[in-house]
Symmetry: D3
């Protein structure tokens, strides 16, 4: 089995302890996270050989990001070092009717200012089998759309599978910008991952009669969305995560997968949330792991959903769960009995 | 819009971390809180100009109380400084079937020993539009009943609206004492706020066939209570908070408001509790904010209930929420989706 | 009322803070716990005179275990001091679908290597009325089965009641070893306590058609199990705790008690879990307390179940609750209203 | 060797973490301490059988004080339970030129309001050999001077040695009050312990030409003070601790002992301070331990000074050191080499 | 006495706990600080009426900065709200031979991108008597040099005294840039404050034969520097802080003041460091306080040096000391004896 | 430059926070450390390619040890996984006259029970240039002496330099056992590292007239020791660290190096201690780094001493310092001035 490469921005995540609000706290938990880094750690925790690519400053805050990855076995040798700052996101954990809150301070990070010539994709993809990125990376602007395109081109040339999680972020770019750029990149993408809103935000494709705020999801609608995505952009696979937000503490979590001919729906999990950040990323990592291991489609989907269900019980961006734990849940044991 | 003035006692709140019981912990979270202070901070968080009046020692523990208020924008210039001690309440957070526990150590505090001549109400109410206090303040004894009466008198003379949250505390005074004193003060009060039990404890007015311990509430009964309160004591408005205690972790929260002619009932919220102390105070603050801003009665009630629903998700006595957060919930979005 | 003596191993319990996984944490909560020590502390919290017997090293880690007991009033004078190490268990708290995880590092502890001649049971049982141990103690191997037998023999000789919680631990011994040893000890035991699986694991007696993983329990089956246990081994009383694991965060908790003629079933409590370790031990302590105080059988059971229901809301192995708190719940008030 | 009994008030000690000032901190370390309790714990740590007598409320804050003592092996059976509050002292740790700061909130504590009839000194002193108290106890006022006198009378009657640490606290009583009361008690005292200022504050006996603020001590002067104390009040032994305050972080620590005929001076230790509260109490405990064990006078003094030197390196009021550690230092090894 | 106004940038200060290095820590203390904000808080702690002016984002991280100031009584009404980010500095505390380390992430902060038209200096200086800023503020670039010049102009026009701490930061601008800008501003400055290196870095004026790295200071040289500064730029007063760095843990601290005719040298303090950040700012605040209160020149200097000596014992950027504490030290009592 | 390989045992290090004693603390800092692991991390921090070899259990506590190494860039691919337990050492930090205390619980660890056939030294040393181990490794007993010998043999065969830090631990083996085993291994060792006592404990070679407890060191004596060591056992280089223990808080630190012909003495550093564990290991790492980089002998020694001087200011076993920081100190700048 070949290596996986993921590319994006890893940020410093600053978070008041427990359920304190920003204005009540003078201590922050200081972890690191970011879509593609989260996928990389999750894969490493499944025993996959994975390299994470980004640009990070040489100073200790940048080094902290590197160490947060290699601690869990992610390859960091391809990370370009330089620039001045590590992007930051402040996170306040919600509870019940009070939503979690994110304040971004990521402009002008080393990653956002990275230059195309700093990445030797031919070398980076040496020995690799899969390339993953998210829509956040081109949304960073500067040369990033160009770098993503170049990475995709060389990935395809070298025979890698390419997956992308659309991950629309309205604070980073407009829907028009997203559509223009992502349309260019879509042709290289084999596996497209999205949540309930991404398809509409990025490609203007929406599930009829879905009421996200109200927490209701419409399965038939998502089948149509998946078909349109696959039909229009030529994705081999389209995966859509289906989150019903009952409150900041309780969600229902499921997903569907469309393989060009059939729609698969996963089991649905009630999730009592410890930390939901990185939920989608852990789903992506579950998918990639399963595809790499040649699982059946329904099993692939169930593994990915079980993995990401467990993510909601883990603090931090990274999904710290093992294959065995995911399998146990996917096979039906969510009883949480003490493992002695 | 004029200023709000609140008057009462602010205490040091000492609380074991997390869910530790008193006897397991050798570290305390040290925050400050008290009914009228909680209302003041909540109003300041809504952008209202508010002064808090009390008496506090000049030493650092007293200064800590002052700083806890001015940090959030509450005016503290009218606080009388002097005396020896800050009242304390020890709080142990309950969970599920285990109730939260409060141990008071508030006797002989600077506030409880305050003298009438220390407060120049004419000056304090200068530029003010609203005066709020709770039944706890006269219950402190000493000259406090007298001081409250004097404050009310001058408030009315200067045209302020007066609100009072009955807040009966059986450790501070008997029902007879409460009735005698509160009956004297009732004539000055425009808006009376109570919880399910206060009307009975203070004025002997009870909702027929209500079974508080069993967690059942009787809407018709509360309508009768509100009418009797308004009828007997001449309140313009009577607001009653309706808490159904399923367990220390889960409550249902709602309220009713009677304006002398109609009864309004709010939406009912299931609350998964982070910290329920100050729930009633945050409701009072929501009411006052809405009245000051001339909202419709039903909207007034819904704002107050939504504000206090959110309080249950916030650590500490103070309700750290913004107008926007309250509005979003009052308008129906309690989905808790991450705000990025 | 005479003294209770409990005998077993107390371990250092090392646990990441909050919901952190082992690999995310570089700080451990360091508490102490172990089946019989948990029973002892629980009894001491009910005001019972209780001695705990074990062997612990003379160094500070051993002394820490002693202090953790005498802090709550357990008699520690009979503890043998010597040996090199305190057994350890690492505990990772689960949430929702993610199970709690225990890693044992208890081999070669001072307790496991204790010698029969180090315990003078005649003296230890002086003035005692009840002796309690669990199946974990003989499972430690070495001379422990022998020591347990000797303790039981002398206990019976001196007229003590003997209770034993089967507590099968598959990492400590095989089912065959357990059956052989426990069969020898069974003759001395008056009160046998077990959970849903112990009877099967230890004595090969199973409730027909019970599906533990699926969380379903079969009351009729357990009646049969209790009868067989009592019939085969001559126990006066058989108590079985009935846990339905909905998830690591939510269980349903109940128990049954068979007195040789009738089966009693307790109320059933939904438990939202703070810490479920020691749940069974707190049930045992509730039983012993009630038996010592001559309660009616149904009341005995209800007290024990209410006590252990509350344990799930308390951090650590030890059940830190008072008789009053247990009674209040047993009598039906689980509303969790703040106790001021 | 008989038992030691100490009598006084134990308080809740609330202290910001690390070197934070009161106004910077919203978390307090919550320990317990008080002159005579500190002596009791220190003696228990030396293996001495010791009972601590006081009055404490029945609630959890009072129970916490009890547990803090029995955790370390102090006998707490003679503690009277009742009253409402545990006295508090707030402690802010100083550093370098910034002094440590103490704010007392101890008025009206259960101990301060204790009644003479609540203490059965005949029973308390049963089997005891030594009685220790400090000048703080009568300074609490109310019936405490009377209770101390009664305790002393019965102690002498039953043949106990009586020691008293003068411990003048200007916030508790005036010099005149102190002199009047302590003069009455002096006749019962065998061993009088004082620091550099107490003799002057309490009895008006001063060392000529001592400049405490400047940190200079005058050995000849103290010899004179000791002689006067012994001469005037008939003490068998007078011990004076000699502290040179270079800064809040660094002191020089020594003591002298006068046995009615000779003056003994101890070695002098530079102490780099972790926590200096309880320094004098740990000295008293060292003296008592040595007297009980019949040590030579110089050895007695050196043991007491070495014990209290080590106290300065231990957090909290209690001196957590062993006989072996004290001996090692008294014999000259203060090299602090790692003990493996 | 009129108001003081200070103007500059306040940053979020992120610092590993205790002595942990950046790469060892996943928790940060999150305080706020910045030269002029530090001066403002110090003055507020001395009871001075002081306004702090800057630009801060409207979000919670910006609000946190505002709250950190008003908590201690600094006026924040003149702060412009807007922009996206709060500048950050990461601080790692040194010890002994290991130096403290600062990593700046302050580019593009709301303050650095502030526009001249956002500040109405006429209104800001209403009722003010003194204006203080540091060389860091114009060094932020953009319109800041211009804004500083305008502020100075209007300050002088309205009769305020103007003080400036040169505070050269080589990461913000070159020596040439500094000289050009500061030369323009010098004409408005009455009181110039500098450390041992600033005069050389900013104005190219150096003390002959000073060896900073070696920790030696040359008093005669500094007299010459002060005279040149005053002579060339027309300052009424020149104050120079004199720090001898023995190690990251121990410094010697003193200062000189030149009033155009005489040089005053302060006492010299050995400082055992808790936190040395903000040492210079606390000196500046001490000077301003003394000038405003019309103290003698030597007393002014001694007050400022004692205040800043104490700052080294206080965690955080802000000097949390009272006038009484400073006076006590300035008058010679640095013994650190416990204040009860 | 080739790779370095180190081999030994890494333990879980459990330590009360701050200066709390074991019996006062219910929270432990949980780090990892061990002689050869410490050397490996230190080398990785200097940018050296280094592999650490040991045996660790597959469970999370074992994985935690692996992660603690790869986080800082140490190669962990050669670590054998298996066995049941990770060795533990409990560490209590001393202060002033109170010594640090270590309690070992390392028997029967996976490393101590490792088997010779589990290590393929030919493969492990592939591409390596240097092999380092300490006397602790053979002292673990079992097959470890044999494994060390085999490792040394193959290392020499493949042309690696071999260094060994004698590191005598009296709790692991007797002096006789140490001498017998280490004499066998000595023939393979090129660079022998020892502290002031090791030569005597292991080989019976002592410096005449050295008084370790008193803190005095005898330079002439150590020259003689080094010569004897080199002469008797054929070491190319002998390095001796020279620690003068003034107290647990303050040491003087220096070293000597003997190259067979000349003795080199380093500068002597007063060290104010944050954490002295791993001081010797950081010296060894400094030596190896310098030898690998072909430094002059005096420079080699100064680098190693400066590196280990800095270690004393760093929490944990690992020396978290960079080449630049070491060089700066070795070149004479220990002023600790803030690095901005």
């Amino acid at each position: 089995m070949g290596k996986v490469v993921t590319f994006g921005e890893i940020m410093l995540r600053l978070e008041p302890l427990g359920y304190y609000r920003f204005l009540q706290s003078d201590q922050y938990q200081a972890l690191y996270g970011g879509g593609e880094a989260n996928v990389a750690v999750s894969l490493a925790n499944f025993g996959v050989d994975v390299d994470y690519v980004t640009k990070l400053p040489a100073h200790e805050i940048g080094q902290g990001a590197v160490n947060s990855l290699r601690r869990f076995g992610v390859g960091t040798e391809k990370i370009v070092r330089g620039g001045d700052r590590v992007g930051i996101y402040y996170l306040e954990k919600g509870a019940a009717q009070r939503a979690s809150k994110v304040i971004y301070d990521r402009s002008n990070s080393a990653a956002a200012l990275a230059k195309a010539e700093e990445f030797d994709w031919e070398a980076i993809f040496d020995g690799a089998e899969w390339f993953h990125f998210t829509g956040i990376t081109p949304a960073l602007g500067g040369e990033l759309p160009l770098i993503c395109e170049e990475a995709c081109k060389i990935a395809k040339k070298k025979g890698l599978k390419v997956s992308c999680d659309l991950n629309y972020r309205k604070k980073l770019w407009s829907r028009d910008q997203a559509k223009e750029t992502m349309t260019k990149l879509a042709g290289y993408i084999d596996v497209c991952i999205a949540n309930e809103e991404d398809a509409k935000d990025v490609f203007g494709i929406s599930a009829p009669a879905t009421d996200i705020e109200g927490g209701k999801l419409n399965h038939e609608g998502y089948k149509a969305v998946a078909e349109q995505l696959a039909g229009t952009y030529g994705f081999d696979m389209v995966a859509i995560t289906l989150r019903t937000s009952l409150s900041a503490s309780d969600n229902i979590w499921a997903a569907m997968l469309y393989d060009g001919s059939r729609h698969y729906f996963s089991k649905s999990y009630p999730v009592h949330i410890v930390d939901r950040v990185g939920g989608g990323d852990s789903f992506g990592a579950g998918l990639i792991y399963s595809f790499l291991n040649g699982k059946e489609t329904q099993d692939t989907l169930e593994f990915a959903v079980a993995a990401s269900c467990l993510k909601h019980t883990v603090e931090g961006d990274f999904n710290m769960v093992s294959i065995e734990e995911v399998r146990k849940l996917a096979e039906g044991d969510g009883s949480g009995r003490v493992q002695r």
